[in-house]
Amino acid sequence: MKLEGYCYEYGSAARRMATFNVEGIAFNLMVGDESIQSGELSELSFSERIGNTPRKVVFKDGSVFETQDNNKIDEVAFVGGNKYSISRRIQMLESKWRWALTSVVFLVVLGYFITSVMLPWAGRELAFIVPSKVNETISSGGIRLLDQKWFEPSELSDDKKNEIRESFTDLINTLPNSEFNYKLYFRNIGEANAFSLPAGEIILTDELVRLAENPEQITAILLHEIGHVHHRHVMQQVIRSSLISVAISMATSDLSALEDLVVVLPVFVLKSGYSQADEIEADAYMFEHMVRLQMNPIHFANVLQIITQDKSNIDGTTLKYFASHPETSKRVENAIRKSNEFLGDGDVF
């Protein structure tokens, strides 16, 4: 067998046209009529095959023969002891369309599995392994920071506040023993909303308290926020986004900055998708405890509708989209269904 190519002496860039002859297990490297190397194939090392890139044969003294003839060099290397068998198998996979397509299908399925099953699972498991002390550390200074940036002091009357505080304390006392120390704060941000911080601080806004039609609606909101704390959603979010950013950074290590723009969008969608799931989980917690406390879950549907209507009144054009967002109406429907179940249960007893 004959292979055409170039030969280089050890470490030198000077090249000469050469012919590599193989007979059985013996080889012979010829430059013109002169034989400059000879011996047995087992003394040689062969570079691995990647696509149709040129191949190198390295001789014992470090000189090199380079050739484009990939198929012949594979045969020669096989006779010479096939010193790169794993690489050869990988190259077989790389050269077949059916393996490429299998990989695509696998990656799509895996991508779905990782984002919809594994990441939430890992977030949940790890969030409960992390000691609750860490939650307090994240929370510490949180209220102070929010007070500086966004919150105004509450303008509610002391009577109103005390009334809600009392029912909050009663509510907390009915909850099973928790490692969280729940605290209630009143603040003003000019719109109806409620927040929770990971160590159990719950914040109600003045507007929400004003809009709520009865104490049960406020209890529903409080239970929803307690649900976020109970399920450690902030910690889960932290763990998931850390995992996502590490994974993205590993998978796209050779993307240039311009192509990064393409990656930002799926990350954003992923992160906001999870927060919807968290809302639904907090709702479930709230429904469970409302039913346990003999309160009708319909109160939550009512207060949710009041809040979203109020928001859409602020700015008719921009917020209309968010107010009619399917997730909100789904949550309202959910609450109505729970309410029907609750009333149905009532009939049985």
Partner: protein
Amino acid sequence: MSDQDRASLEFKGSGSEYFKIWIVNLFLSILTLGIYSAWAKVRRKRYLYGNTSIKGASFEYHASPITILKGRLIAVALLIVYSVLSELFPLVGFFLLILLFAFIPWIVWRSLRFNARMTSLRNVHFSFKGRLGKSYLFYLVIPFIFPLLISSLFSFGYSVLVYEYPIENFYNYFSDLINFPDYYPTEILILTVGSVSMYLLMIPYVQKIKMSYYMNNSCFGQGKFSSNISASKFYLIDILTFLVTAAVFLFPIMIFLLIYGFNAFFDYGSEFLDNVNSIVPVFFIFVAYVFMLSSVFLSTAFFTAKLRNYVYSNTQLNDNISVNSNLNTWNLFWLYLSNFFLMIFTVGLAYPLTIIRKTKYMAETVSVKNVEAFSQFVSQQEQQQSALGEEIGEAFDVGSGIEF
């Protein structure tokens, strides 16, 4: 020397072949929980290097996957620590970022050395002989510390001369500025505006010294590259890039004025907003997004083309081998734009194709004169190198600012 001695780089990689290599290796990387990714990286690089050739002699990438894996494991551990800590405690994350900042010159220096050492052409390795101290000078001291220092001095001097700030209390000056900002408005203005504008004005100069550091310390065997570039040309290119970007942004405003006249600009509001339906804003956002991207692509293409052509055409290897580059702004712009849409419409699956297209264009616009003189070079012995700098650089997206 005759023009026949001039040879262009040739790139023979194909999109479909590289796609198969990329996807199978990605698959194996995930199956092995990322361990195989080091092998995958080496195979991808070997494919791209091996398909780039000059007069039938191809480049070769030599990094060993084990070396890459070691560097990568440490880099990923650091990245995990960083992202968890900065999610939990933004302030700690901020300090870690400053720490990373202090390490950037080291990361750049290590990865320049590693990548040069791992590349060979015609059996001879490249190398980078720049010193670490110079990297700190060019990547940290001159661009950041110098403007800060000078404007602090001016600010302090102003305070001493105009407001008779006690000069012997200089060590209290910064804490005074931070604690009583209301008393030192002019001083703070001098400090902030001074350092920011100095930083901005020095950008072309900093680009030049980084490029010069890279080029003039690169070697091929015993041969040395030398690049005779001047800062004034960098200033010219940066100013032109700025003008191109400004022109692109002004263009739609001009069109609008031509169509609607100047009056429309002031009273279109009421009539226009009445007809708004929910589709229009979404469409507008899309058009604005594509337009903004195009202008970013155009100015990047302009800058890259002008800069690389200038630097390469003034670069030599050992006085007798010269390099040239003839990138074209519009071709490069089209490459960026079409690659971007390829990525969008295939949900990222066309990524390998975009890499092939880019590598091909970037390679085939480079030519070398007097190729046969390559024969005189021999490889130089050098110690083994770890891939730590290179891998940390990749994990944290640290660029050397001199990639083409």
